[in-house]
């Protein structure tokens, strides 16, 4: 999926529109960039367009959504300041706590938290993680909390690593793909974002029907929208925060939130991600 071309076209339209209104001497405003990972749902062009349009309307300047395959790429872009904001996972935020600031955190079922699920095939008789030893396990992303860290930390408590515990592990770079891998039987178990699994079981029941939840984690900080601590455009970050926090007040915004099955965006303190930080500590004890 490559939405860039379309987005660029859109941007070009916006730029030319702005250029037509403003005096020719004034340069076109720099677009605000926002990175997205497959952290939530698989990219939906219409949804992306809606978000872009919503933000552009509130920021009164063009907004460019940037997509990459892995969390790492987006995180790297964000830390480097190449993009203004990004929707990242809690784990990269915790890892780069000093170089990042929180912009907003989605509220899911009333809380800015979610759970990580350990899923198996529906017909798998296993009842606990220990039974999955020697099997193939699907992770989402090495920089994902729910799709990697939670399970790794669980194993670390037993003094094991995923590589030693499972016969083979692989990263699918998408929670949706973890569900596909497990339901197809490619992997016997998978680590997946509970929010994604819940939403998919609602909107695409066929995809999750072949899987069941073996274990749920405790609530952890929802993947946040973050910005570099020293942003190149402070105004843009503030505008994005404002637009996100007011999203639930806007009809278009509510449409977007409904699509995402989110209540809204809330301001949060970094302490929300202490749970993840704790898991990381546990995990890093066993290397």
């Amino acid at each position: 999926m490559r939405p860039h071309a379309e987005l660029r076209t859109r941007r070009a339209v916006l730029i030319s529109a702005a250029a037509a209104i403003a005096a020719p001497a004034i340069a076109a405003p720099t677009p605000v960039t926002m990175g997205l990972t497959p952290v939530f749902l698989d990219s939906d062009i219409q949804l992306l367009a809606q978000i872009e349009s919503y933000l552009a309307r509130h920021l009164k300047r063009p907004v460019q959504l940037v997509q990459r395959r892995t969390y790492q790429e987006i995180t790297a872009l964000l830390i480097a300041g190449a993009i203004d904001t990004a929707w990242i996972c809690g784990l990269p935020f915790v890892r780069n706590r000093h170089r990042l600031q929180l912009v907003a955190v989605p509220a899911y079922r009333g809380e800015p938290t979610y759970k990580a699920y350990l899923i198996v095939r529906k017909d798998d008789p296993s009842t606990e993680l220990a039974r999955l030893s020697g099997q193939v396990h699907a992770f989402s992303d090495p920089d994902s909390n729910s799709g990697y860290l939670v399970t790794r930390a669980l194993l670390a408590l037993e003094g094991r690593t995923p590589e030693s515990f499972f016969s083979k592990t692989f990263f699918t770079y998408g929670h949706r793909n973890v569900i596909r891998a497990v339901s197809s039987g490619l992997a016997q178990s998978g680590s997946v974002d509970g929010y994604v699994w819940d939403v998919l079981s609602e909107i695409q029941p066929g995809l999750t029907a072949a899987t069941r939840i073996l274990r749920m984690s405790e609530p952890l900080g929802f993947p946040p929208i973050a910005a570099p601590s020293q942003p190149r455009d402070r105004g843009a970050v503030a505008e994005v925060r404002s637009a996100l926090l007011r999203m639930s007040d806007d009809p278009r915004g509510r449409e977007i939130l409904a699509s995402l099955r989110l209540d809204g965006f809330v301001a949060a303190r970094p302490a929300l991600f202490d749970g993840i930080a704790g898991l990381l500590q546990v995990a890093e004890r066993v290397e």
Binding site: K168, N177, S184, L186
Partner: protein
């Protein structure tokens, strides 16, 4: 070696036609099926080639990185992308033979050993040779000349095989129907063509046990056909045979009647001949009965005449049975003849010139025949010679034969009479039996007759001596 049951043509030809059809049909079917097979193989190769090309491109990076998910993802997407290829199973296999990912991961778990069936075959049999309707296809994936894995796909070719079987069945049914129809037509036409032959053959078979019969008109094929000409020719032949048979029967009948008539008239003639002399003798007795010598001569003449008649009658009675009159010729037989002839000559006022040159008293020739020959010739000559004319007779016995000559002064022997005499040809009117009898007797005796026409007619007869041999009088009749 003789066959027990010879097969009739009407069956042989359809059998040959059917056999030929079977051979032709088998050949055509083989070619068609081979073509279908080639087309299908090409189609499958193109399809699977494109399929494997696409898969190779998609699977190259994950195989290099040993990324199970990406490999699976590629295989999973390919399933929808290449729905034309009925892939039952697709495996991305690492160089060590382990499955990196399969389209059906449950059947082929990650890093399990690929099943032996998914290994590339040593011989490259076409996918259509698979009997289970499934075939493994393979593609080695290399990067810069180094094998980094391969793709093995189990594809469903049952649709192709079913298609081929359908074609096979259709060919079989159509060819069988064609063969039956052609064999039936062959039977029908050969039966039709051979119908005249069968008619002819049964006609010949009938002719062997009885008489050849004309084939009825309603059994004849049209005259412009070969069979029609053949059977009509047969009918003409039968008709000709019948006609000839009828003619032969009629001729035989006529001849029998003619011979009977000849015999009867000949007998009457022979009886009549001595009668004239006997009447003369009788008159002589009446007139000169007092003269003992003359009376005795006349009486002897009558006796000989009667004896002659008795002989003829007896001959008629016993049908000239051989031996009865086998007596050799004597001088007195010649004298008797002169006597009879003289009497006739006197009646006709014809002079008779008589000259006999015989040394021995007996000539080895049946007297009866000589008498018949001489008498007939003399009577004929006398009848032909006008009044005051002369008939001369001469005979001699010499060199193994008795030779006689009768000469008259008549107008010459007519052509038909001469033919009767020399060649023994039958007279159409039945007249002139005397000459015919002469001819028969001379022929029987192995002699010869010559006729010379100059100032009258001269007839020369030569009768060879019968050296103990007896002429069968019966055949002379």
């Amino acid at each position: 070696m003789k066959r027990l049951y010879p097969i009739p043509f009407a069956f042989k030809v359809p059998i040959v036609v059917a056999l030929l059809m079977i051979v032709v049909a088998a050949g055509i079917s083989k070619i068609v099926l081979q073509k279908i097979g080639e087309t299908q193989t090409r189609h499958i190769e193109q399809l699977t080639g494109a399929y494997l090309d696409g898969l190779s491109t998609a699977l190259l990076p994950p195989l290099m990185r040993r990324d199970a998910w990406e490999a699976f993802d590629a295989l999973d997407r390919a399933r929808q992308l290449y729905s034309g290829v009925h892939a039952l199973d697709v495996l991305a296999i690492l160089p060590d033979g382990k499955v990196l990912a399969a389209a059906d991961p449950i059947a082929h778990p990650v890093l399990s050993l690929a099943p032996p069936t998914a290994r590339p075959p040593v011989s490259s049999a076409g996918p259509l040779e698979a009997d289970a309707g499934q075939a493994w296809i393979h593609r080695e994936i290399k990067s810069e000349g180094i094998a980094i894995g391969r793709i093995a796909a189990l594809i469903d070719v049952s649709a192709y095989i079913a298609e081929r079987h359908e074609a096979e069945l259709a060919l079989l049914v159509v060819n069988a129907a064609l063969t039956l129809v052609l064999a039936g037509l062959g039977y029908f036409f050969v039966r039709r063509m051979l119908a005249p032959m069968n008619v002819l053959s049964s006609a010949f078979a009938d002719a062997q046990v009885g008489r050849p019969e004309i084939i009825a008109e309603d059994r004849l094929p049209p005259p412009d056909t070969e069979g029609g000409r053949l059977l009509r020719g047969y009918n003409r032949m039968v008709a000709a045979i019948e006609e000839r048979e009828t003619l032969r029967r009629r001729l035989g009948e006529e001849e029998r009647i003619a011979v009977l008539g000849k015999l009867a008239s000949s007998m009457a003639h022979e009886v009549n001949n001595p009668l004239g002399g006997m009447f003369n003798a009788l008159a002589m007795i009446r007139r000169y009965g007092d003269d003992a010598a003359r009376r005795e001569g006349a009486a002897n003449l009558i006796e000989r005449g009667l004896a002659s008649i008795r002989n003829i009658v007896r001959a008629a009675l016993v049908q000239w049975r051989a031996g009865d009159s086998g007596a050799p010729l004597t001088r007195s037989d010649i004298d008797d003849l002169r006597y009879i002839a003289q009497a006739e000559a006197d009646l006709r006022r014809v002079r008779l010139d008589w000259s006999v040159a015989l040394d021995s008293p007996e000539i080895p020739i049946p007297a009866q025949y000589v008498r018949q020959v001489v008498l007939n010739l003399l009577l004929n000559a006398l009848a032909a010679t006008p009044e005051s004319g002369t008939v001369s007779f001469f005979c001699e016995a010499g060199d193994g034969a008795f030779v006689l000559e009768v000469r008259d002064e008549g107008p010459g022997m007519p052509q038909d009479a001469r033919a009767r005499l020399v060649e023994g040809s039958a007279s159409p009117s039945g007249s002139g039996l005397g000459l015919w009898t002469v001819s028969r007797i001379v022929a029987m005796a192995g002699g010869g007759i010559e006729v010379e026409n100059s100032r009258g007619t001269a007839v020369y007869v030569r009768l060879p001596f019968a050296a103990g041999e007896v002429i069968d009088a019966k055949s002379a009749a």
